[in-house]
């Protein structure tokens, strides 16, 4: 055994500081036969849970601490020249340019210019102090101290104070619960670097005022740096001398930042990335590679060297090591007893139930029974309901989880009381209790959902109940929950963003000083893979072949990129996790403020699960917001008030809804809008709610790959009879015609054949997903099944099926929970398409760009109404036209229009939108300019997008594309005239402002700077903050909720505009002069303006201007594809709306491309053999021409196997110069560099394939966001950059 213990170790969870994962540190310590190891990350305990788990796995006792910056006491001057960075380089190294030796005054001033035109001044040297927890109480104090440190001062610049440390020490009983370590970067270290022992003693005395003797420890470090500064042996020796003379405890550490010597360059990159500067000797902290996890032998050498320089004998080195060991033994923690890993803490029942309840079980039962009447009325089915309820309550009671269910129900009530839509997600829908409490909206009895999949007496893990809410109002819900439970019991879960390939390339590239443009291009060329796979991807993916890896500089870049893999880089609020616990929550997790000012745990999702904290997933779902918007719009324009969850109003067997789904016109609908799903619903033709559940479950990687769909469809359509493995299994598999689709079916099959309970069967099902556990299950399953009287052949066959499908099946409860919003969205689209699509356009829930949704609206006969300052709102609105009654769906569609939203205008602010909607109607551009006070660019964009056309009677662009100059009456105003006027108005406004400023003695700017800087508050928390201030007598709030809110860096909410200026006729305002006679914008120009301003093509489709060439080339349009012969070769063209790389059976990468050509979507599939020459075009271009072979997949379905792909603007340029023959030649030619390999030849190196336990093979690039920019955020310019110019 190695007796040495490292007490000061930073992992990667010291953000952009440490270079190793806690797991690697624990493993290395175990290899060195150490029995304990500390983790003391900077500014937080983010890695503590992972570290504790890794330690347990490696048989090491964890020691936990935190390394905090602390306000200086003023006893020691700030070490301007002594910051431990490399400044003292004597010219003894060939690679170093001449530099004066010794200590040089810092050349880095307090304000350092960094990337992005900013200055960085908080990297200023604060002294640091390390705290080690010595017990459970010490850990609680450490957590609270860390929270208090983060919640004072500025967000994400945590600096503690001696007072705070003293406060948290004073509450502890024992002098060894929490230790304070003063190391080389403490003020003690500063004093030693100045060789001022008097100051050093003053620092120690100052600390002894607030600590017990046993609390304080001096820490010495030697990284064998040159000179006498921190990290050098002479410095360590001096500190040791001071400690000895003051009788202070002494430990030796190595201030570890990386496991291995070879990882040292990574910390240089991290230093540069943290400071936003390129690598330079001035910017990196280390001088050598000594700060790694050394062995005890190596540390003993250091101890020797230090004691020798201190003039102390051999004995002293031994005492130093023994002292270190003693502190380690005192601080080693037990993960269960001290950290509380594995414990469960629910909020107090009194908090959840308002102090009424006697026991959680009784309250839960009462609430469920009350729910029976509401859910089932007084139906005949009640005995079944009661039996099921008793079963579930028994399990919940046995596990002691009653308060958990009550808490979830309480949160759901909070949401509903605010009129916000909510739905359950996940396996929780399988529980009757959840249905009765109103948490879930699907009846588990009616759809055969099992509770055991969700909650089982055999599993101790907390069940997951996820609540979906309207995304647009998610923060409102967080505010409500926080207010209800308070910051002592409630916090958000955090999420550690780790380095993946794109970020790693950006940070390493910037550190190496590569040009920003090159870095950006290189980063975007990669799909979103892990950083460590960068070079493998470059070998395997054709679109990356152009990157020249041979170049030495890139080799260096990618070496470092791979080393950054998986290191944490940024902490952010998790999009849905909320922690709810009792009043001891902050004893177990530190909190800090999120960007928007919410208290956020330093632990992530996995960590809080290990800690047994109740985590509720409150997930913002855009579709819920879209549906809420749709319902509100229907009511606003005079339609009925719809309650989507009411089965009387929205019957689940509504024929119109299923007719819509079967027609595959499901763009915008939840879950069933993707190309693959549209193909599936076309073939499947769902006829009822159960069918939607099955459809959602079938459209999963597993079923798609293992070809479960075709046998299913054959039986469904009556082409072949259903086959059952055994008559006993018929009831289980009847609903899916003998095909295993659901986890619930796997559970029941095991229960039936092996004759066991469902809870046990679910354990078996889980074990089937694990390669090793599977064998145990097999030896358990066969004897039991045979004993049950099943013949061996049947048992073997059942086993085969279980083995194959266990890991693929889908949880039916989960599918049922999904099916509800799917059905509801389809119902809305069938009955109120305009309102529904207005909701979809406003909240953008789906996978397609909005311009495709607008196209879809037109196909439904809904008018798309242009932007208009006098009618457009912040969101998309339905406008009733013609006033016909909305009786039949068709009639409604024909009479409705969707008005574009002001929010779509590029660069428009929420305040500008609020002023426009409050101040209208406007009578002129001048009126708009004066009263809505929009900025000049926004005013220009409003003009360009036609938002003022109605004011000036500018005609809609109905003229054909061909005529370049539309016919115009003399003397009419054009958009160009209005643009000129905007410029005029802007000049006038500036001139008047100048005059006003000159007239007033004090300029508004200086007046503003004198007023106090207002505290920015978290959204919706301003009132709470004021309450907190009033409530606490001491003057400062103590609730972490309010402290975190005060640190918010989010935008301030826009004040509602109440008073609006009336239209004034001022004579000095420049009125519209005579029309200049400039021509009106042509149709093509209008489309271009629309795309640039709104990102949408309104007046014409973006493809229209290419029509002449496409017609000459005989390109097939989407609506005509169905009429083409099977196996014929076709050309299609369109705007890219989606690229996907889904997992397929062969384990190869397949690229699915969806284009939109104005007549509908076109789906094309690129297999691996054709990706080579065309992959880069697919991922990085927006307007494409695709050649492919057509295949009919069903009565309504066609798919295309692509054989080539070209950029449309490029072909257009060829067409303009060389005519159609030139275009044909361009298409026929195999791209340069690929001509020598005929398509389909297996010349390329074999690609890696991932193999799952079930034997399924998958490409490592499947299901990963591909290279290039997301199709939903298509660059507005690229779509349509002037079709006339060459090169596109």
């Amino acid at each position: 055994m190695d007796p040495f213990v490292h007490l000061h170790v930073a992992s990667g969870y010291s953000l952009k500081y440490g270079a190793s994962h806690p797991r690697q540190l624990a493993e290395r310590a175990a290899e060195a036969e150490m029995d304990a190891l500390a983790l003391t990350d900077r500014d937080g305990v983010y890695g503590a849970v992972r570290f504790a788990k890794a330690c347990s796995a490696n048989g090491i006792r964890p020691i936990l601490g935190v390394d905090l910056a602390i306000e200086p006491s003023g006893l020691v001057p700030e070490p301007s020249g002594l910051v431990p960075t490399i400044r003292d380089f004597p010219p003894d190294h060939p690679r170093l340019t001449a530099r004066p030796s010794g200590l040089v005054p810092a050349t880095v001033s307090a304000r350092t210019p960094v990337r992005g035109g900013q200055y960085l001044d908080h990297d200023r040297a604060h002294p640091r102090v390390t705290l080690l927890a010595g017990s459970r109480a010490g850990w609680a104090a450490l957590c609270r101290l860390t929270s208090a440190t983060h919640l004072r001062g500025e967000r994400s610049v945590p600096v503690t104070t001696r007072g705070l440390v003293a406060d948290h020490l004073s509450g502890l009983d024992s002098g060894t619960d929490l230790l304070v370590l003063l190391g080389p970067s403490s003020e003690l270290g500063w004093a030693a670097a100045l060789r001022r022992d008097d100051m050093a003693r003053a620092v120690l005395r100052d600390w002894y005022d607030v600590t017990e003797r046993t609390n304080l420890v001096v820490e010495v470090v030697s990284h064998r740096r040159s000179g006498v500064g921190p990290g050098s042996s002479p410095h360590a020796a001096r500190m040791a001398g001071v400690a000895a003379s003051a009788g202070c405890q002494l430990v030796l550490t190595n201030e570890v930042r990386y496991v291995d010597r070879a990882d040292a360059p990574v910390v240089d990159v991290l230093d540069a990335a943290r400071r936003l500067v390129p690598l330079d000797l001035r910017h990196v902290d280390r001088a050598n590679a000594e700060g790694f996890l050394k062995t005890g032998k190596e540390m003993a050498d250091i101890a020797d060297e230090i004691c020798r320089f201190a003039g102390l004998g051999d004995k002293e080195a031994e005492r130093l090591l023994a002292g270190t060991r003693a502190v380690a033994d005192r601080c080693a923690l037990d993960p269960r007893a001290d950290l509380g890993i594995g414990e469960v803490h629910f909020p107090e029942l009194a908090v959840v139930e308002g102090g009424a309840g006697t026991s959680g079980d009784a309250v839960l039962r009462a609430r469920c029974e009350a729910g029976i009447g509401r859910r089932y009325g007084s139906g005949a089915d009640l005995p079944a309901v009661r039996d099921r309820l008793d079963d579930e309550l028994t399990v919940i009671g046995g596990l002691g989880y009653a308060t958990y269910f009550l808490t979830v129900a309480d949160v759901v009530d909070l949401v509903r009381d605010r009129g916000i839509r909510t739905a359950a997600r996940g396996s929780g829908a399988g529980s009757l209790v959840n249905y009765l409490l109103g948490v879930s909206g699907v009846d588990p009895l009616r759809y055969g959902l099992l509770m055991e999949r969700f909650l089982s007496p055999l599993r101790q893990a907390l069940p997951d109940i996820d609540v979906d809410v309207e995304s647009a109002r998610r923060l409102e819900i967080y505010d409500a929950i926080l207010e209800r439970y308070g910051g002592e019991r409630c916090a958000c879960v955090s999420m550690m963003d780790t380095y993946r390939v794109r970020h790693a390339i950006r940070d390493v590239g910037a550190a190496l000083g590569l040009p920003p443009g090159e870095i950006d291009q290189l980063a975007k060329a990669f799909p979103h893979i892990r950083a460590r796979d960068a070079r493998a991807a470059m070998r395997e993916l054709p679109e990356l072949r152009s990157v020249n890896l041979g170049e030495g500089r890139l080799d260096l870049l990618f070496t470092l990129v791979e080393k950054l893999d998986g290191l944490p880089r940024h902490i952010a609020m998790h999009p849905c996790g909320v922690l709810l616990s009792d009043a001891t929550l902050l004893d177990r997790t530190p909190v800090e403020a999120s960007f928007l000012g919410y208290p956020m745990s330093q632990f992530d999702k996995e960590d809080v699960e290990d800690l047994g904290l109740l985590k509720l997933d409150v997930l913002g779902i855009r579709m819920q917001s879209a549906m809420a918007h749709a319902v509100a719009e229907v009511a606003r324009v005079g339609g009925p008030v719809i309650d989507l969850d009411d089965e009387q109003q929205v019957p689940r067997d509504d024929p119109a809804t299923y007719a819509l789904i079967q027609s595959t016109r499901t763009l915008g609908c939840f879950q069933i809008e993707s190309p693959g799903q549209r193909e599936l619903v076309g073939k499947f033709a769902p006829r009822g709610f159960e069918d939607i559940i099955i459809d959602i479950s079938l459209f999963r990687p597993g079923p798609v790959k293992s070809d479960m769909i075709n046998p299913f469809l054959r039986v469904r359509h009556g082409w072949s009879p259903a086959e059952y493995l055994h008559p006993d299994l018929e009831p289980v598999l009847e609903q899916t015609y003998g095909v295993v689709v659901f986890h619930e079916q796997v559970i029941e099959m095991i229960a039936v054949v092996a004759g066991c309970g469902r809870a046990e069967a679910d354990e078996v099902r889980r074990a089937l997903g694990d390669r090793e556990a599977k064998e145990d299950v097999r030896t358990w399953f066969f004897p039991r099944a045979l004993a049950g009287g099943y013949p061996l052949a049947v048992v073997s066959r059942v086993w085969e099926v279980l083995e194959a499908f266990a890991s693929f099946g889908f949880c039916k409860a989960h599918a049922a929970a999904f099916a509800l919003p799917t059905f509801q969205s389809a119902w809305l689209k069938a009955h109120h398409p305009a309102a529904f699509l207005a909701g979809v356009l406003t909240h953008d829930p789906g996978m397609y760009p909005k311009r495709l949704i607008l196209d879809d609206a037109r196909h439904f006969g809904i008018a798309v109404l242009p932007l208009d300052v006098n009618t457009s709102d912040d969101v998309y609105r339905v406008e009733r036209r013609g006033g016909r009654s909305p009786s039949a769906a068709g009639a409604e569609a024909a009479s409705d229009g969707i008005r574009l939203a002001l929010n779509e205008v590029k660069g428009i602010s929420a305040a500008e939108v609020a002023r426009i909607t409050a101040a209208r109607p406007f009578c002129s551009l001048t009126d708009l300019w004066q009263r809505a006070r929009v900025s000049r660019p926004v005013a220009e964009r409003l003009v360009l997008a036609g938002a003022l056309d109605s004011l000036y009677g500018i005609g809609s662009a109905n003229q054909s594309f061909g005529s370049s100059v539309p016919v115009r009456r003399r003397g009419t105003v054009t958009r160009r005239d209005l643009l000129l006027q905007v410029a005029e108005l802007d000049r006038w406004t500036r001139a008047t402002d100048r005059a006003v400023r000159a007239a007033s003695p004090r300029s508004p700017r200086s007046a503003r700077s004198k007023s106090a800087v207002p505290l920015s508050l978290g959204q919706g928390s301003a009132a709470g903050w004021a309450d907190g201030l009033a409530g606490s007598r001491s003057g400062l709030p103590t609730d972490p909720r309010l402290l975190a809110a005060a640190q918010s860096q989010g935008p301030l909410p826009v004040d509602p505009v109440t008073a609006v200026q009336l239209t004034l006729d001022l004579d000095d305002v420049p009125a519209l002069a005579e029309p200049s006679g400039l021509p009106e914008m042509s149709g093509a120009e209008r489309v271009r303006a629309e795309l640039e301003v709104l990102g949408l093509d309104i007046s014409h489709h973006a493809m229209d201007c290419y029509a002449p060439m496409l017609d000459e080339l005989a390109v097939t349009r989407s609506r005509d594809l169905l009429r083409q012969r099977n196996q014929s070769e076709v050309l299609v063209a369109g705007v890219k709306v989606a690229t996907q790389t889904p997992p397929v059976r062969s384990g190869r990468r397949v690229v699915f491309l969806t284009l939109d050509d104005g007549t509908g979507p076109v789906d094309a599939t690129f297999f691996e053999d054709v990706q080579g020459p065309y992959a880069a075009t697919i991922f990085h271009s927006w307007l494409l021409v695709v050649r492919g072979v057509l295949r009919r997949t069903g009565p309504r379905g066609v798919s295309m196997r692509a054989t080539g792909c070209w950029e449309l603007p490029e072909l257009y340029a060829v067409w303009q110069s060389n005519g159609i023959a030139g275009v044909r030649d361009a298409i026929a030619a195999v791209p340069a560099g690929f001509a020598d390999q005929p398509a389909g030849s297996a010349e390329a190196p074999p690609n890696r394939v991932l193999v799952h336990p079930s034997g399924f093979r998958q490409s490592p690039y499947a299901d990963i966001r591909p290279a290039g920019v997301d199709t939903k955020t298509a660059p507005r310019k690229l779509w349509h950059s002037s079709p006339g110019s060459a090169g596109g």
Partner: protein, 95 residues
């Protein structure tokens, strides 16, 4: 202080209980180390190189007082060991 870049042969051993260069041959003459004055390790600006061969390029330096035999004449030398190529160099002397 004079600067050199001379390859030397070094024999390691214990100097006052510390594992250090004990003797070295510089320009054909044997020097015996009497005392280790300082000892440090440093790395260079690896980011200026064009490949990823040896990113550490560590150099360990011993500042020693050494003399020739029993003679009074002693000097202070910086002896450097390059971990990359395993060579000893004499980089600095002050008489």
């Amino acid at each position: 202080m004079r600067r050199y870049d001379d390859p030397i042969d070094v024999r390691r051993g214990l100097v006052a209980g510390l594992d250090a260069p004990e003797q070295f041959v510089w320009r054909g003459r044997l020097w015996v180390v009497r005392e280790v004055i300082a000892h440090w390790v440093r790395t260079g600006a690896w980011w200026d190189q064009d490949d990823a061969r040896d990113l550490l390029a560590e150099r360990e330096v011993w500042r020693v007082e050494a003399g020739r035999g029993q003679a009074v004449s002693a000097g202070v030398f910086d002896l450097a060991f390059d971990w990359g190529d395993g060579r000893w160099l004499l980089v600095c002397s002050s008489d």
